[in-house]
């Protein structure tokens, strides 16, 4: 396993790190789309994601990393269960964060006939692809806006159904592929299909910090990491540990947190105001606000949480008028001011994350 830059050591980029943590708390929010300039630490943050996630239990030998407690496991586990008749041996392993490089072939993504087995043993067997590897984890696509159309189609389909269906080369395989999609890209190089945009729960915009001190700090940490990756990671292990604990705590708090009807009304009104399609936006808004409250260790979900998270949820879901120059962040902010009333109440815990919408003009 290659050493990744520790998540806790990432400097600045509060909005991005917050979004990633929120998704780590509640993966059902859907993925994160990170848009921004080159060299702003997009990939670094995403690849460091594994740091935040507690290890998961998987069935030993299962190519898809099934949950031992899964109600409808993959064919492999079903067969194994039927054969042994008792509990399957399990294994603890880190949550997969799988990279899908731009040029990946369909075979590599979906999976294909296992060439080695076929050649050496004459057995027809399925060799799982990246989608199988990413099951129960994260699938990261850098430069997602340049992804080829046929791969986009494929992803949209699998991301919606949580299941990968392979019908090729005489194989007929169906396996679970539930993953959180994380994408990054530079919007100046091409636009994303609306259908794919919709698959992302949150979207954040990153910029290079223009503050000198911050920049110097980024460079110093990165340089220290490059010179001694293992040592640097060891140094940050405690901080990483703390983040991980916080996320675990937030996960367990998630079930206890109730979102009041008044907030639900506001969510609905906000979505209505912005004319977002379908109910997905409202659902995501609800889940994200709750995850946000859990992450902050709050006892109750409040308006401040909603206010803080709403731009991330709604920004990429506005009905597109591609020729309207007004930034979507501005439009969301405007709607928020109107629906949630003024910008009066500051978020209760505004220390860690500045209000994302406010900084943009």
């Amino acid at each position: 396993m290659a050493l990744t830059f520790p998540f806790a050591a990432i400097v600045g980029q509060e909005e991005m790190t917050l979004a990633i943590q929120v998704v780590a708390v509640d993966p059902s929010i859907g993925g994160v789309l990170v848009l921004g300039d080159r060299g702003t630490g997009k990939s670094t943050a995403v690849r460091a994601l594994a740091d935040l996630l507690p290890p998961i239990q998987v069935v030993q030998g299962c190519p898809y990393g099934c949950d031992p407690a899964a109600k409808n496991p993959c064919a492999h586990c079903q067969a194994a269960r039927a054969a042994s008749g008792k509990k399957l041996p399990t294994l603890e392993r880190p949550v997969p964060v799988v990279d899908l490089p731009l040029g990946a072939t369909e075979d590599r993504v979906v999976g294909a006939l296992d060439l080695e087995k076929a050649l050496t043993q004459g057995v027809k067997e399925f060799a799982p692809g990246l989608l199988a590897q990413a099951n129960r984890g994260f699938l990261y696509i850098d430069e997602v806006n340049l992804l080829e159309d046929h791969l986009v189609d494929l992803l949209i389909d699998v991301a919606a159904s949580g299941e990968n269906l392979v019908e090729r080369e005489g194989l007929s395989v169906r396996h679970p592929a539930r993953f959180v999609l994380v994408g990054s890209g530079n919007p100046e190089e091409g636009e994303l299909r609306p259908q794919l945009l919709d698959r992302f729960g949150l979207s954040v915009e990153v910029r290079t910090p223009q503050d000198l001190a911050l920049r110097v700090q980024v460079i110093k940490r990165r340089d220290a990491f490059e010179r001694d990756p293992a040592g640097f990671r060891a140094e940050w292990e405690a901080a990483n540990q703390k983040l991980r604990k916080n996320i675990l705590k937030a996960r367990s708090a998630l079930e206890r947190l109730e979102v009041g009807d008044d907030l639900l009304h506001l969510c609905a009104a906000l979505c209505q105001k912005l004319g977002t399609d379908g109910l997905r936006a409202e659902l995501t808004l609800l889940r994200t606000t709750r995850a946000m409250a859990a992450l902050r260790g709050a006892k109750k979900v409040t308006l401040a949480h909603l206010r803080e998270i709403a731009p991330m949820v709604l920004r990429h879901r506005l009905r597109r008028n591609p020729l309207d120059d007004t930034g979507s962040s501005v439009r969301v902010q405007r709607a928020m001011d109107e629906v949630l009333g003024g910008d009066g109440s500051k978020p209760a815990h505004a220390v860690a994350a500045p209000q994302p919408g406010a900084a943009r003009g």
């Binding site: 060439l115 430069e143 100046e188 000198l212 460079i219």
Partner: protein
């Protein structure tokens, strides 16, 4: 000449492009030493140079510099299997067992991968390479292995071509152009480090410590030069370190930092550093760029003695420690002297259409190159016999045959094939299929002249917006040309980003003569370029056809009209479709005549409505 050449690094503030090419060459020589010491840490080199003896001389020396360490060549058309490793088909076929073949990147571990014609690399190849580069690991037959390498990207692209993929360029430390170096300059070569020297320098490199002040100065210089990417100061720091190690220093001296500024920061600059300059609009939330050149009196206020003038920086080791401000100032001077000559022009252009840095001028490239790979998008292979026009898909064929090998080996009353052969039966054959859908690119030539268009420019823009919206829906690329006064220019190179097209359009001013012939010529050139990139161009002209500036840029209706007609006829000879939208208040016979001789569809502006436009576009594409 070896040792003294090495220690007498070129003075920091020597202007690069005005300097004799020999300075560029000596820089290139010094770069070889740096690569010899740390091929991986520098990220690599973006070498802009035409094919020729100069580049060959440099590459030959690079090969010597690498010695026993790997130096692999990556051709631009390499496939994923060769790049990252995969099944070795020949060997697999021979042995009947799956044989893994190491990819070229794995072979480059610890050394350098040279990318020939790097500007033509497909985005897929670039992405795979960067993925490996970023992770420093590569997949092996079983498991993973370390894979760290530097890249020398050979770029032969011309001025008007998109050039290297920005994501790749961003990761390469040193950007160097050898175009000005002549053959005789290149005969002067520098002796490389001997094995002992190399080992010593490499152990020195580990000891070089960067002070906070050094890091701060590099960051501040990068900020003042408008460099957004944080990789730039990081790479600059490593360049400075290597240079210090070459001089057996354990701390960074001014000249180390100056060299880094010159090599790494200057070529990436998007802003000419000026103390009085307003910060770019997008930076409005932060403090303005640091005043890199404080007035002399302020410099004297600092406690330390007056800074050594840049020319004396060779002797800086003895000089007192410079203050932070002076250090930044010196770096900026070093970088400013080496700023690319066209920066100002580009910045001026950028001001007309308010958008971010020079990247905007480049960033079309990635999208464009992507189109290139989409040409003949491969479909899944299909069973069938190869014949003319259908190529055998070897892998699919093998896949089809593979599962049956064990069966076929069993005696079934027929001859058993030898054990180490794969038996292919006719039923196994698969053929390659492509979807022939070459993406299209709409080239808009917009008349922004004063004549008749000025009053109707807004309307013309509206028409273009309708078309843009349609091409957006179809995922076409667009390219915008504007002509007015005595010139026609490319406002926006082919891009799929609608936002950029919209912005380019919004910033378009009106007024001046009508150089229609120039516009058509530019349109033709652009169309050829678009076709080279693998797209099908079509031209949309928005003009009243009343040309009054000829090809030579002189006024005069007669000659201008004749030139325009000649170019219209040349367009007619091309295989591409065109649409003429007449912007005159009422249908203009001149425009009609031109459209006819171009073989273009003609649409008078008063009739421009979304629906008609859509129909016109449909016929345009069908044509």
């Amino acid at each position: 000449m070896t040792q003294d050449f090495r220690s007498a690094a070129p003075p920091a503030a020597e202007p690069l492009q005005d300097a004799p090419p020999s300075v560029v060459w000596s820089d290139a020589q010094l770069l070889l030493l740096a690569l010899q010491v740390d091929p991986v840490g520098l990220g690599g080199v973006w070498l802009r140079a035409g094919h020729g003896p100069v580049r060959e001389a440099w590459l030959a020396q690079l090969a010597r510099a690498m010695g026993q360490r790997p130096l692999v060549k990556v051709p631009h058309h390499i496939d994923t299997e060769r790049l990252l490793g995969g099944t070795d088909l020949t060997h697999t076929l021979q042995t009947g067992k799956l044989q893994w073949q190491e990819g070229v990147l794995a072979q480059a571990h610890g050394g350098i991968a040279t990318l020939a014609m790097a500007e033509r690399l497909s985005p897929a190849t670039v992405a795979q390479m960067l993925y490996t580069l970023d992770r420093g690991r590569i997949r092996q037959h079983h498991g993973e292995a370390d894979c760290r390498f530097g890249i020398v990207a050979l770029d032969e692209s011309g001025e008007d071509e998109p050039g290297l993929a920005p994501a790749l360029a961003d990761r390469l430390g040193v950007w160097l152009s050898l175009d000005t170096v002549s053959r005789c300059d290149s005969l002067n070569t520098l002796e490389l480090l001997s094995a002992d020297e190399l080992a010593r320098t490499q152990s020195e490199l580990h000891k070089v410590q960067a002070q906070d002040q050094d890091v701060g100065a590099l960051c501040q210089a990068a900020l003042a030069l408008g460099i957004d990417s944080l990789r730039a100061p990081l790479l600059a720091l490593q360049v400075a370190r290597v240079h210090a190690a070459l001089h057996q220093r354990h701390t960074l001296a001014q000249e180390d930092l100056a060299l880094a500024a010159r090599w790494v920061l200057a070529p990436r600059a998007t802003v000419v550093p000026q103390p009085v300059q307003e910060p770019p609009p997008e930076e409005s939330d932060s403090q303005p760029p640091p005043p890199e050149a404080p007035p002399p009196d302020q410099a004297q206020d600092n406690e330390s003695p007056a800074p050594p003038p840049p020319e004396e920086q060779g002797a800086s080791e003895q000089a007192e420690m410079p203050t932070d401000q002076e250090l930044v100032e010196m770096l900026l001077a070093a970088a400013a002297a080496a700023l690319p000559p066209h920066l100002l022009d580009r910045l001026l252009l950028q001001r007309q259409s308010p958008q971010k840095g020079v990247r905007a001028a480049h960033s079309g490239s990635s999208g464009q190159a992507q189109k290139h790979t989409m040409r003949g998008r491969p479909l899944s292979p299909r069973a069938g016999k190869p014949h003319a026009g259908a190529r055998l898909h070897l892998l699919a064929t093998l896949r089809a045959a593979a599962p049956k090998q064990t069966l076929r080996r069993k005696p079934q009353g027929m001859q058993t094939p030898a054990r180490n052969r794969i038996s292919l039966w006719p039923e196994d054959f698969h053929i390659q299929r492509f979807e022939q859908r070459s993406p299209s690119c709409l080239i808009f030539a917009i008349d922004a002249s004063g004549s008749a268009a000025l009053e109707r420019l807004a309307e013309a823009k509206g028409a273009v917006e309708i078309l843009l919206q349609q091409s957006y829906a179809r995922r076409d690329s667009v390219c915008v040309l504007a002509f007015r006064g005595a010139k026609a220019e490319v406002l926006l190179p082919p891009t799929r980003s609608l936002v950029r097209a919209k912005r380019a359009l919004a910033g378009l001013p009106g007024g001046g003569g009508t150089p229609l012939a120039m516009a058509l010529q530019l349109g033709l050139e652009q169309a050829m370029q678009v076709q080279r990139a693998g797209m099908t161009p079509s031209l949309v002209v928005l003009s009243d056809g009343r040309a009054n500036i000829d090809l030579a840029g002189m006024g005069g209706r007669a000659q201008a009209g004749a030139d325009a007609l000649a170019l219209a006829q040349r367009w007619a000879l091309s295989p591409w479709a065109a649409l003429w939208i007449d912007t005159a208040p009422k249908p203009e016979p001149l425009a009609q005549a031109l459209a006819r001789s171009m073989g273009a569809h003609y649409l008078p502006m008063p009739h421009v409505q979304a629906q008609r436009m859509a129909a016109a576009m449909q016929t345009l594409r069908g044509a």
